[in-house]
Symmetry: C2
Subunit: 339 residues, 2 copies
């Protein structure tokens, strides 16, 4: 009988569900196996008002049908958010996501320059209301240096706003890993794909558009640093897939969009990865426990039973090509129980 692994209340602390037809096509893939997910607000236009949040949440709940799944909603950070607004929206959101302007998909309305005094009113209000600030931490510099260059901005913000929970989203470098332990209020999410690939997998052989993402996968020593804290379930690190669906024609094209679609296979592959490294006992905290503490959330009860039985990953899910498309992975989802 194949061995099984049970994960309680898996959480994806960084997820793109998009909107419209794409939302309908892919939301269920996360809702089936995850208890909840922090949903990114970079729609067009971005989610930036209470009404936007309520309406987007409603669309998500419709898209997931009967699944037990909590979408932890976020706002798109704007320096103009004041305390009254943030108080009014506090019970509808779990975090606010800050994008440097123009750095990734639909981030044109993001922050340019990081002037502490300009950001102070909004960030002090967030500190007071205990709203975590999630940041896509990249400068506009050379593609391999963008995240390492951003570390000094993380540090400036962490020092200037010591009561603000700052979450370094989808970190990809040893420099970000090192920053985690230098500041009490810095946390991080790590994706599945950045635990597995480097730039070699994207551009070392043939060019692989389905592994192209932002931040781009970095060097082998960066991947090792990420793996170390993930496999340790370092208490300041959470799983966040950054799973980002784009239709095949937008990926296999001249000017391919950034994003790797991992939602449907993330739990299976994480189980395989942690087992391979003999660290299965830490997966529960990486996939749920740490996030519960950092965000102070109680996710809907869900047990996911994985069994060690090969699963051939489909070539696409409704036209979206997943990581490991057409390949065999070691674990399958045997069942999901609720309540």
């Amino acid at each position: 009988m194949p061995s099984t692994v049970i994960l309680d209340n898996p959480l994806d602390m960084h997820l793109h569900l998009r909107d419209g037809e794409m939302l309908q096509h892919i939301a269920e893939e996360s809702a089936h196996t995850f208890s909840g997910a922090v949903v990114m607000p970079n729609l067009v236009p971005p989610v930036s008002s209470k009404e936007d949040v309520i309406a987007y949440r409603t669309r998500i709940m419709e898209a997931i049908g009967n699944e037990t799944f909590e979408p932890y909603m976020t706002l798109f950070f704007k320096p103009g958010y004041d305390k009254a607004f943030l108080e009014s929206v506090r019970d509808r959101i779990h975090a606010i996501k800050l994008y440097p302007a123009g750095i990734t998909t639909n981030s044109e309305g993001g922050v340019s320059g990081f002037n502490v005094e300009e950001l102070r009113p909004a960030l002090e209000a967030m500190s007071a209301l205990n709203i975590p600030l999630c940041i896509h931490g990249e400068t506009n510099g050379f593609v391999m240096d963008r995240e390492a260059e951003f570390v000094s901005i993380y540090e400036t913000l962490a020092e200037a706003f010591p009561s603000l929970k700052i979450i370094m989203e989808h970190i990809t470098t040893k420099e970000s890993v090192a920053a985690l332990d230098r500041f009490e209020n810095l946390y991080a999410t790590i994706t599945l794909h950045h635990l597995i690939i480097t730039l070699d997998d994207v551009a070392g052989g043939m060019l692989q558009p389905h592994l192209f993402c932002k931040p781009i996968a970095k060097r082998p020593e960066d991947k090792e640093a990420l793996l170390e804290v993930a496999l340790d379930a370092h208490p300041k690190v959470m799983f966040g897939s950054d799973s980002a669906p784009h239709p095949r024609h937008a990926k296999e094209a001249c000017g391919c969009a950034a994003g790797v679609f991992t939602a449907p296979i993330a739990l299976q592959v994480l189980t395989e990865l942690f087992e391979k490294h003999g660290r299965l006992e830490n997966l529960q905290n990486f996939i749920s426990g740490n996030a519960r503490k950092i965000y102070g959330i109680i996710p809907p009860a869900k047990k996911v039973i994985l069994e060690k039985k090969p699963f051939k990953v489909p070539g696409d899910y409704n036209g979206v090509v997943p990581m490991f498309a057409g390949e065999e992975i070691a674990y399958s989802v045997k069942g999901v129980t609720h309540g």
Copy 2:
């Protein structure tokens, strides 16, 4: 009246003409504006016998029709080449190209490991016969490190075979540039695209498959080092486009092939580049003079007249998408005169 620039006998010291239908489609693009080109031997199967060289040259001459153009033929290096064979083929070839096994398009039959004693018979015969050795210098390491890691192999060969002309093909790093001046018998070709792009242009915004090549474009400081020796027309540096045609469907795909197609626009863009940097006076040596001396060749007489008049680059040439497709470049080819 627009200003004009006249280039005498332009040479492309590293060119892929492929074979069959592709050869028919694109050979003329080089033959029209270049006096000659060093033609790479990585066909399937590779060009590795006297008969192969003669037959391939014949196919090239048929493909270029009435153009005045000399294809400088090369053999695909095999460690088993002996002096008798090399003597027999000497008057048919201008260089031998060495590929590390599996490192780029059709290089599966290349060299694994670089054991000097194993290579000695062939390389000493090449030294005696004054046949340059062209090398695609990449290890199987991390994609951004492969060329820098290979420099120690260049150095080993340069020391072990001091009379062998070693040409570091399509160099992309400051480490290779620095090696040029450390060994008398090391030379280099530099492409157009590596003088213009970095990894940022390939993967910093949307992914750009038409700029994906091997070696991959590197960091800004690498590009600056290449530009410096190219604009200086450093006497050990020659233009080699590495222009490599792949049909659109092989580039805009999952698993995109490596290669940038620049043959039809190389002279125009190089003129613009050298002019922009105020170094037009060095273009003639970079594009022809240095190569004539290094290879000891006298190319067919050809004058290319370029005028400063915007040219809109076609979206494709017989299904092959060129660099700058659909964009406007500053110089046009006004005319070509022969003899």
